[in-house]
């Protein structure tokens, strides 16, 4: 079993198609939608976590690409600008998956992309505009 976090960019004609249920049924994947932003007649964006056999994951993602969905790994969408970060730790108490975490000995903050679920809670909390989510 493998887990993958991805961002799907839908063209407008696919927004009302049941593509996710196809992923679940035809490719036997467990799908957990983390965030969705779909505006009618426009593009849709979906952040999700998929779990399944390695081969099934690949096949599922290929299917999405074939029908015209742009697939990106989630990490591309969340950015921590280390040079803007002052290590104040303001974000630490809102980042529940601990993607933003602090070494309690040195009080140094770090960002682990793989843990980030793009919940956006850190965005209004960071006073230095060090977190950016392109979504």
């Amino acid at each position: 079993m493998q887990k993958k976090r991805v961002v799907f960019n839908y063209p407008s004609h696919l927004v009302d198609q049941p593509v996710i249920s196809k992923l679940v049924k035809d490719y036997d994947l467990t799908v957990n939608i983390l965030r969705a932003r779909i505006t009618p007649k426009e593009e849709g964006r979906l952040v999700l976590e998929m779990e399944g056999k390695r081969s099934a994951l690949e096949a599922g993602l290929n299917y999405m690409k074939e029908i015209g969905v742009e697939v990106q790994p989630l990490a591309q969408d969340v950015k921590w600008y280390e040079d803007r970060c002052t290590h104040c730790t303001a974000c630490i108490s809102v980042c529940h998956p601990q993607a933003l975490d602090v070494n309690r000995k040195t009080m140094e903050v770090s960002f682990n992309r793989d843990k980030c679920i793009a919940c956006e809670l850190c965005i209004p909390v960071c006073p230095y505009q060090a977190m950016e989510i392109l979504f």
Partner: protein, 404 residues
């Protein structure tokens, strides 16, 4: 045996001064003993890097040809208004100033992504900003408008002047209500969802000299990456508060007013800061050297996070309504552990003042002293202490009589 500032400076000149940071001194003195350490160590360096709203800078931009009197007119830097109630080409830019067309909190919570503090950061990093002005015109200053780029190096003077910085201790902010609140203490989650604190604890300048026995008017300091001076106690300086046995205030207390040449500073240590729903502020790096004149002064600098207590205040009601009362006391060791207990509930903590950067400042200042490029000063006058009789007054409102 007590030391004097002159003796310490002589050792700095000879490259022989022993300097430790306020963090290093703790274990060092515990191991070697107070007596020996007080003889050996000459200076303890402190640091803080947190948001300080009562910051700003004044400028003299030079006279244009023909001349213009900005005083009494309207002047902007990158559309942010500056204060011109001064002579022809002097003005003051406040850290919290923002463009007139910023929506503020009309779209709640406002972003406050740009303001005076960001301009200070940009100027210090060498960038050009737009200076625009309108004036009423006089016989000696005929010009009525001005539009030009300007940078720090073009100006005659550019001085950081902060009327209140480096708060000695601060509140821990929580939210008892059931909606998210947006404050100068950050975004605070409902129902005790988090607790925000804002002090460097054992590294903080005024917590290492709690009775202001070495810090005063004329104390040379690290300011914004350059050299600055304490020019006096800051506004709201309130020394006579509840203190621990070791003299450490258990709540907001002393403050510093500081100034320094902006041209010598760095944007690494002056950061434009945006508090969602609250406004713009400037995060300022300050480091104060404490001369170890005797054992008593040394003992003050040995203060540890677990000996520094702060009050937990509800920012959904008690603070805005100015209702006294604390939900309890916590110390900085607890705050830095990431969890405190308030009203029996475990609450995750977040800082607003960077302990990591505070340590970096203390180490930079230590190095400046070690290599002989920073000397200590004898203050002209110490800051007012607990016996000063200072009382921190609220505003007493009196109805204004209406005349017809």
């Amino acid at each position: 045996m007590a030391k004097t500032i002159e003796e310490i400076n002589e050792k700095i000149r000879r490259g022989k001064a022993v300097v430790l940071t306020a963090e290093e001194i703790i274990d060092y003195a515990a191991e070697k003993g107070v007596k020996k350490t007080a003889q050996e160590v000459d200076v303890v360096t402190t640091g803080t890097f947190g948001p300080m709203c009562s910051s700003g800078a004044y400028f003299n931009v030079g006279h244009s040809k023909p001349r213009i009197k900005l005083g009494g007119g309207r002047t902007y830097l990158n559309d942010v208004p500056v204060y011109t109630g001064l002579a022809a080409v002097d003005f003051f830019l406040g850290a919290t100033a923002m463009p007139e067309d910023d929506p503020r909190n009309k779209i709640y919570p406002g972003k406050f992504s740009y303001g005076g503090a960001h301009i200070i950061e940009e100027l210090v990093s060498g960038k050009d900003v737009r200076l625009t002005a309108t004036a009423y015109g006089t016989d000696c200053y005929p010009r009525k408008s001005l539009e030009t780029y300007i940078s720090l190096k073009d100006m005659n003077e550019a001085v950081l002047f902060n009327m209140r910085n480096a708060y000695q201790n601060y509140n821990v902010a929580v939210n008892l209500s059931d909606r998210m609140i947006y404050t100068y203490m950050g975004v605070i989650q409902p129902k005790l969802g988090n607790a925000n604190y804002c002090n460097a604890g054992q590294l903080s300048p005024l917590l290492n000299d709690p009775y202001y026995k070495t810090i005063g008017i004329g104390t040379r300091i690290f300011l914004g990456g350059g050299v600055g001076y304490v020019v006096g106690s800051g506004t709201q300086h309130n020394p006579d508060v509840k203190r621990t046995e070791k003299g450490v205030p258990k709540m907001t207390s002393g403050t510093l007013a500081v100034k320094g040449d902006l041209k010598m500073m760095s944007s690494k240590w002056l950061k434009g800061t945006s508090y969602t729903g609250y406004g713009v502020t400037l995060t300022v790096g300050i480091g104060v050297p404490i001369p170890i004149l005797n054992e008593e002064i040394l003992q003050y600098t040995m203060i540890r996070d677990e000996e520094i207590w702060a009050q937990v205040i509800d920012y959904s009601d008690a603070y805005p309504q100015f209702i006294p009362g604390s939900l309890g006391e916590v110390n900085y060791k607890q705050l830095k552990s990431g969890r405190i207990t308030v009203q029996g509930k475990e609450v995750p903590t977040s800082g607003l003042s960077s302990y990591l950067k505070a340590g970096e400042i203390a180490r930079i200042l230590k190095e400046w002293i070690e290599v002989g490029k920073f000397f200590l000063t004898q203050p002209v006058e110490l800051l007012p202490s607990v016996d000063s009789g200072i009382v921190f007054k609220p505003l007493k409102e009196r109805p204004i009589k209406k005349h017809h």
